[in-house]
């Protein structure tokens, strides 16, 4: 990649951040919503952007990193195209949500430490409660809610996505 394209790429990258900061009037008490919007844009919080946000808001980078690492919602690593959230709230837990987690980990070759597939297609997370306890156990893939799941049904849902992705290519 030539030097000029790199510069224009990173300029575009920071332009979006500037717009977001502008929207919040560079108000450092709005740090959480600012980071939320940045994450929506990039699917995670890149390190150079966090440093940029810190100097723009005139706060130490440590503060921005501190906030970013405190909240579960923020990711410092890129997430997959499909984010699978397995609910492990009480209601889902007593209806055996852990079996779903095992099945998905086995299907995608993931573990508690490795949560994103190498092709950046899937990220697997557990969440404490999605508030859809009536449908326990619940799995959410991006914005689609799958209620009353079994290990077999959740694997079928993943296979359907894989088929769809294979067709798109």
């Amino acid at each position: 990649m030539s030097e000029t394209t790199t510069t224009s790429l990173s300029m575009r990258k920071f332009q979006k951040v500037c717009d977001i900061l502008e929207n919040y009037e560079y108000n450092n008490s709005k740090l959480v919503p600012i980071l939320q919007e940045i994450q929506e844009e990039y699917r995670y919080l890149p390190e150079d952007i966090m440093t940029f946000v810190a100097s723009s808001l005139d706060v130490p980078p440590a503060k921005v990193f501190g906030v970013a690492t405190f909240y579960a919602h923020f990711a410092l690593q890129p997430k997959g195209k499909y984010v699978i959230k397995v609910c492990d709230g009480t209601a889902c837990h007593v209806r055996h949500s852990s079996a779903l987690l095992d099945a998905i980990q086995e299907k995608l070759g993931l573990s508690d430490r490795k949560t994103t597939t190498d092709d950046l297609l899937f990220t697997l997370e557990t969440v404490s409660c999605l508030g859809a306890c009536g449908l326990a156990p619940v799995v959410v893939i991006n914005d689609d809610v799958y209620g009353g799941q079994t290990p077999d049904s959740v694997v079928i849902a993943i296979e359907n996505i894989l088929t769809k992705e294979a067709h798109n290519e």
Partner: protein
Amino acid sequence: MNNTMNIDTLTQIADKYKSQMTKITRRVTICGGTGCIANGSQNVYDELVKQLALTNIDAVVDLKFEDNKDHTYVMHSGCQGFCQMGPLVTIEPDNIQYVKVKPADVSEIVLKTLAGNSIVERLLYHDPVTGQKFNGTKDIPFYARQNRTVLKNIGHIDPADIKAYIGQKGYFSAYNAWTNMTDEDICNDMITSGLRGRGGGGFPTGRKWNLTRIEKNEKKYIICNADEGDPGAFMDRSILEGNPHSVVEGMMIAARAIGANEGYIYVRTEYPLACKRIKQAINDAKNIGILGDDVFGTSNGFKITVMEGAGAFVCGEETALIASIEGKRGMPRPKPPFPAQAGLFGKPTCINNVETLSAVPLIFQNGPTWFKAIGTEKSAGTKTFAVTGNVANTGLIEVPFGTTLREIVENIGGGVLTEDGKVDMDAFKAAQIGGPSGGCLTKEHLDMPLDYETLTAMGAMVGSGGLVVMNDQTCIVQIARFFMRFTQNESCGKCTICREGTKQMLALLDDIIEGNATLQTIDLLEELAHSVKIGSLCGLGKTAPNPVLATLKYFRTEYDEHVINKRCPTKRCKALTSAEILADKCKGCRVCIKVCPEGAITGELKKPHTINKALCIKCGACAQACKFNAITGVA
């Protein structure tokens, strides 16, 4: 621009809504709560609108019509509560509720019910035990035995239509509070009503308001705490989704009482629909002139900002929530100073829970004595509970304080669900109440009336109202471990004893589950639990050991069984179980022999097989492969 709402306009909107409703001869309500949408209620709605257009039924999907003709109104509502049976389609005034409706059922509903005035019997709710049919919400025990006040309008009005809310006397209480009452009167009425905080603590709301009211400061804040982090509780989500304007109005009355001109609603980001609906409600209230710089012509302003949380359970704690709004790590700080004295940005701040604020307009509509008369003496009013777990009817319910656990689980909840899906009240083992901060109730508590005091006396708490029913196949040590892992994950790390203590408690529970524990482990666990309780700053740490202490209190023998006999009575702890083949169920088909990776299973064709426990690695492959459920002890 003169965009201030006055009483004439408000009355006009309400009258117009009422007169339009007289033209609605039939109302078809499709539940649009998170649960029903996940089960495909949007497709049912779309299909219904499509099919109705093909008939001569004059159907409308909003109240924009100006003519004088009769209409059938098809609308979305918030969560109707009966999530187990969704998607729900309710038809009024016929008192019909169809359950588990699929798009394919719609043509039959249109043909038989909406055009033909008869009932599609197969879509009615059938009692899982007796098979008895019930027509609608007036007869279904799940609804008929509740006392829905805060939840009443959820499921009856379109949450996205501010005029529907005004048509139900909405915003009239706020008008009255802002124009005809003094701040002191409002606080006194709240104290008379006896309303206590619904978020967990149970502090009297009127007194909380008064504490903020008496502070002298130009700037004060009212915050609505919608950071509903307790796993297993979803009442706040349902209220925000199903009746967001009641929260806005409650905040307006609170703001008037304490003298605040700015409000924040702190919502979990895990609730996208709730965020969307409350933001829309605030916008609509602003556009119609209810919120703004000159509320009801009093020349005082009030504005509300929605802040989405970023996934930290500890932010349910008042001071942590304030830190989070200020753009910091959501860590609690010592009290005093209380938020009433120095809260958000150092200004006097009052923080109320969603359900609390949603009850406020009702108290001012019906009078504080009306509210006081419901419930028990010290715990006035009704409480919503999210009933989930091993129970036949999961969903959101509302009952007066003083209702017994048996009434909730057996009659409203329809009884306890066993592992093979049957309903059997004898299978009741425990109910976990109050989430990770709460305790558990056992068989002996089934007939005790539930309110703030009795629950605290039993080592549990009302909490936000999550009630998880567990059957006799649930391992109580695993449940304690589950909550411990949750609080351990969510500990913010500020207090050493909470950060490290919960970690060690979790390790001790793991020892018990994995068969590495001695009786000293339990003693140490208990000792540590008390230390964490005493040595932590905020509610999270103070209550984190509750599930362990409560389960130790009521299920000590089950802990002992794990530790002394290295046996898990419910066979849920993998390390303590061994695989066994039930000779009476085994057909001798050799399937398990083929899948066993260790060659641990032997036996002749058509004769019961046996497992060599020394070779077995408890992988569970055999149990999964067996078609006759003949293998127990492995998952």
